[in-house]
Symmetry: C2
Subunit: 471 residues, 2 copies
C-alpha cells in the first residue's frame, strides 16, 4: 500500500489514488465518463435504500421517463436551455438515419416530464403529482473528477406539481430536509442548508435550496439541490388545470436531486492517510474478520464468528492464503472497513479476539461472548464520532468576517466557509468571485436578518451569506 | 369503463387500451419511447427486488458502466456489430462540438465492459468476474408496442468471465434457471427453456438460451436470454490472463438479460375482458378496501381493517367520495387488484366483509376475525391458479406435429407452439418462416434426442424443436 499518496500532503492526488486503488471506480474509455465498480456501487445502493424509503414514505412514487428529449422541448423554458446548452450530448442519427429533430440526452428531466404532466391533468383533482425517478443523466464535462464531476452521473430526480405555492414550497423544504438527514444520519457529514443567490440558482427555478459541505481543503461541495420552480415551467409549457372555482391556473412545481457526487464527498471528508474511512451505516462492509494466516485454531474460530455476525452485520472473512497478516490489515484499512477482527491462535485459545477500530486505530481485546454487543456499540460510536469530527472541522473553518481584507486573507490561506454580510447585488458577487475565487454558497436557513454593510462594497446589507471556493 | 375493448375480441387493441387506461405506461413524445408510470414502475420494482436478491445470492455484484460506447469498440466483434448496427442511436455532438469519434448509446454493454475487464485482470486469481448492472439501453424501433417493443427499455445485464468453459456454462444455465424461477414463482407464467438455433442466437454468442412464453393469440414471447459467449469477445478484445500453469488463455464469458418486456407478457397472459389481472406476488396493490360510499359504519370498519392489513399486505383503501360503488368496483377490477374487500353498513353491523376475488369473480362473506388468514389463503390460491391456467393454456396449445401440412394449417388457424423434428439447416428454417411466419423458438432443454425426418424438407433430423410465430 506504499504508493498511496498521503491525504494530508495532496488531497486531489490522494483522492484519485484511493478511488482507483480501493476499486470504487475507474476512468471509462469515453472522455468524462466513469465506471462505478462493485465496491463503489454498493455505496450508491446504500444511499438508494435509505433515501428511497423516505421518498416513498412521503407519498412520492417512482416512475421512468425517456432518456431522450426533443431539442424543441428544451428550448421552451428560456433560462433552462441557456443554462444547459453548453453541456448537452446530442443524438443526430438513429436507426441508420439522420433524425429530423435532434434528441438531447437528458441533462435533467423537467421538460420531458412536464409535457406528460400536462397531458395527464385537467383539474385540481389530478394534483398533486408526486413523482421520482432513479436514472442516469448526462452533462458534458471536459475534465473528469471521479464521482465529483463526470459527464454521466446517476441520481434521483423528484418532480412534483401542486395547486398552491404553499404546498409546493413545503415539498421543496421537505426534500432539502430529507437530503440533510441522508447526509447527517447515513453519511455522517455536516453541512449548511440554505438558499442560493439569484446567479447561482438552477436554470429555470424561482428559488434553489442547497446543502453545502466543507471538504478537507477548505472548498465547499454543493451536495444536493431542491428547486422551487414557481409556475415558470407550467407557463412555458402552457400547462393549466381547473382550480376548485373552475378557473384555469398554472400548477406550482418543484424538483430536487441527489446524485452519485455525494459519494465523492463521503470519501474526501472521512478518509485519512491510510485510505478510506466509511461510517458504519453506509460502509459496504462493516466488519472484516482476519484470522492470522496459518493459525488453524484461529481460522476455525473465525469461521464460527463469521457465521454468527453475518446475519446481523455486513461482514466479510478474509481467508486468502498467499497474503501476510500485515498486508491484509493494510488492505482492509485502505478499503475503509470500520471494524476489523483479528484472531490468532493465542487469542483463539482464550476465546478472545482483537477488535480494531478504523477511525481511531484503537485495539481492544474482547471476549467472544461479548462480541455482538461490543460491535453494536463500537459501530454506533464510530458513526457518531465521524459526524462530530466533520461538524467540528466545519465549524472551526467557518469564519465570521466583517472586512474584505480578512475575507481575502482567508481565501488566500486556510480557505473554508466565510459568513459575511452581502448586499445581494450580482455585480458585487461577481467581483468577489474574481478577486477571491469565492462564490456565494447559500444564505443559511438558520441565519436571522442582520442589518449592516456589505463586506465588499459597503452598501447596506440585510443578511449574512456563506461564501467559499467550490468544487 | 365501457370503452375498454374486449381482450377476446382484439388482443392488440385491448393491450394498448389497458396499458394506457390502467396508467401503467404512456407514449412519449419521442418516437419509439415510452413513459413508465408509477403503477407500471411498481411492477418493475417488484421484479427488481425478486431478481436482484437471487443475483446477489449467487455472488454477482452490481456495478455501473457508461451509457456511451465508442463506435470503434462495437466494431471489434464482427457478428456483434452486424447484429446491432441497424438499431443504434448515435451521439455526434457533445459540449457544443462535433465529436472526433461518434458515441453509441449502449444497445447492450458487452464491448464497454469487456474492455475494462481486460484492464482489471492479469491472472487466474482475478477470475471469476461476476458483475451485473440495472440500466437503460437503446435499440431504435420504428413502431412502439408499449413494454414489448420500445426504443429505450430497462433491464439488468449480467456479465461474467471464468477460467473454464465449464464454469461459464454453469453460470449461463444458472441465469436461465433464475429467470425461469422469476417467471413461474413471481409472474405466474409458464414457458419453455431451451437453446436458440444458430440463426436466432445473440450477435456474438456461441450459444443463446431463452425462455419462451405463449401469449393468448398463440404467438410466442422471447421472455429473456442467457448467452454463452465462449471466448469470442475475449479474442476480439485481445484479452488474456495467465492460467495456473503460467500460460496465457482467453477467459470464457457469458451475459444474460431480463427486461421490462416481461411486464408486457405479464399483462397479456393474465388479463381478461375486465382489464388487468395481477398475480398477488407481483401485484403493486394486493388488496383494495372499498367501503360503500356514504355508509358511515362501513367506513369506520374499513379504516380499522386497513390499518391492520397494510402491515402484512400491499393494501389500499378507496375513500373517494364522488364515485359510486359500482364505478369503484370496475376501476379496481380494471387495475387488476387480486382481492377486493367490500364493506357496506349491513356487513359492518355483523362484523363481516365481502371478499371479491379478481381472477374468478367469486364473492365470499368473511368474518372480520378470519380475514387475515383467509386473505393469505386466497392470495396463495390466486397465484397458484393463475400459473396453472397459463400452464394449461400453453400445453393445450403446444402441438406435436409430424407433417408440414399440419404445421401450416396450425399456423394459419389457432397458432401456438409446434413441436416438430427439424434438420437444423438455416435454409430450411428460413423457408418455414417465409411460408408459415413461424420461427424456431428453441430446442427445449427437456427434449431428448429423437431420430426422424425434418418436418419441412424430409432430411434426417435429430431433435424436436419448438416453432411459433413471435413478437
Amino acid at each position: 500500500m506504499k504508493e498511496l499518496v498521503k491525504k494530508s500532503a495532496d488531497l486531489s492526488e490522494w483522492y484519485n489514488n484511493i478511488v482507483l486503488k480501493a476499486e470504487l471506480a475507474d476512468y471509462a474509455p469515453v472522455k468524462g465518463c466513469m465506471v462505478i465498480r462493485p465496491y463503489g456501487y454498493a455505496i450508491w445502493e446504500g444511499i438508494q435504500n435509505f433515501l428511497d424509503k423516505l421518498i416513498k414514505d412521503r407519498g412520492v412514487k417512482n416512475s421512468y421517463f425517456p432518456l431522450f428529449i426533443p431539442e424543441s422541448f428544451l428550448n421552451k423554458e428560456k433560462e433552462h436551455v441557456k443554462g444547459f446548452s453548453p453541456e448537452l450530448a446530442v443524438v443526430t442519427i438513429a436507426g441508420g438515419e439522420k433524425l429530423k429533430e435532434n434528441l438531447i440526452v437528458r441533462p435533467t428531466s423537467e421538460t420531458i416530464m412536464y409535457d406528460m404532466f400536462r397531458k395527464w391533468t385537467s383539474s385540481w383533482r389530478d394534483l398533486p403529482i408526486l413523482m421520482n425517478q432513479w436514472c442516469n443523466v448526462v452533462r458534458w464535462e471536459q475534465r473528469t473528477y471521479l464521482f465529483l464531476r463526470t459527464s454521466e452521473f446517476l441520481w434521483q430526480e423528484g418532480h412534483c406539481a401542486h395547486l398552491t405555492h404553499k404546498e409546493s414550497s413545503d415539498m421543496v423544504l421537505w426534500a432539502l430536509d430529507t437530503y440533510q438527514k441522508t447526509y447527517t444520519d447515513l453519511l455522517a457529514m455536516y453541512g449548511y442548508a440554505g438558499v442560493k443567490s439569484e446567479s447561482e440558482k438552477f436554470a429555470g427555478a424561482g428559488k434553489t435550496y442547497t446543502f453545502e459541505c466543507l471538504m478537507p481543503n477548505g472548498k465547499a461541495l454543493q451536495a444536493c439541490t431542491s428547486h422551487d420552480l414557481g409556475q415558470n415551467f407550467a407557463k412555458s409549457f402552457d400547462w393549466t388545470v381547473q382550480d376548485k372555482n373552475g378557473d384555469k391556473i398554472n400548477p406550482w412545481q418543484n424538483s430536487w436531486g441527489f446524485s452519485t457526487r455525494s459519494i465523492g464527498g463521503l470519501i474526501m471528508v472521512h478518509g485519512d492517510d491510510s485510505g478510506l474511512v466509511f461510517p458504519p451505516q453506509i460502509a459496504p462492509t462493516q466488519i472484516v474478520i482476519v484470522p492470522i494466516p496459518a493459525h488453524e485454531l484461529a481460522k476455525e474460530l473465525s469461521e464460527s464468528i463469521y457465521k454468527n455476525l453475518k446475519n446481523e452485520f455486513r461482514t466479510e472473512i478474509d481467508l486468502v492464503e498467499q497474503e501476510s497478516a500485515g498486508f491484509k490489515f493494510n488492505k482492509w484499512e485502505m478499503k475503509g472497513v470500520p471494524v476489523r477482527i483479528e484472531i490468532g491462535d493465542r487469542e483463539a485459545k482464550e476465546n478472545k479476539v482483537v477488535l480494531f477500530r478504523r477511525d481511531t486505530s484503537e485495539k481492544m481485546i474482547i471476549d467472544v461472548k461479548d462480541l455482538n454487543s461490543k460491535i453494536t456499540e463500537v459501530l454506533k460510536d464510530i458513526q457518531n464520532e465521524l459526524f462530530l469530527k466533520h461538524k467540528k472541522f466545519t465549524l472551526d473553518n467557518t469564519f465570521k468576517v466583517d472586512t474584505y481584507e480578512e475575507f481575502k486573507k482567508i481565501m488566500n490561506t486556510t480557505k473554508g466557509f466565510i459568513s459575511a454580510l452581502w448586499c445581494e447585488d450580482a455585480e458585487c458577487e461577481s467581483k468577489i468571485k474574481e478577486e477571491t475565487k469565492a462564490t456565494t454558497r447559500c444564505l443559511p436557513l438558520e441565519n436571522k436578518p442582520e442589518k449592516g454593510v456589505c463586506v465588499c462594497c459597503g452598501r447596506p446589507a440585510n443578511h449574512r451569506w456563506l461564501f467559499a471556493q467550490s468544487y
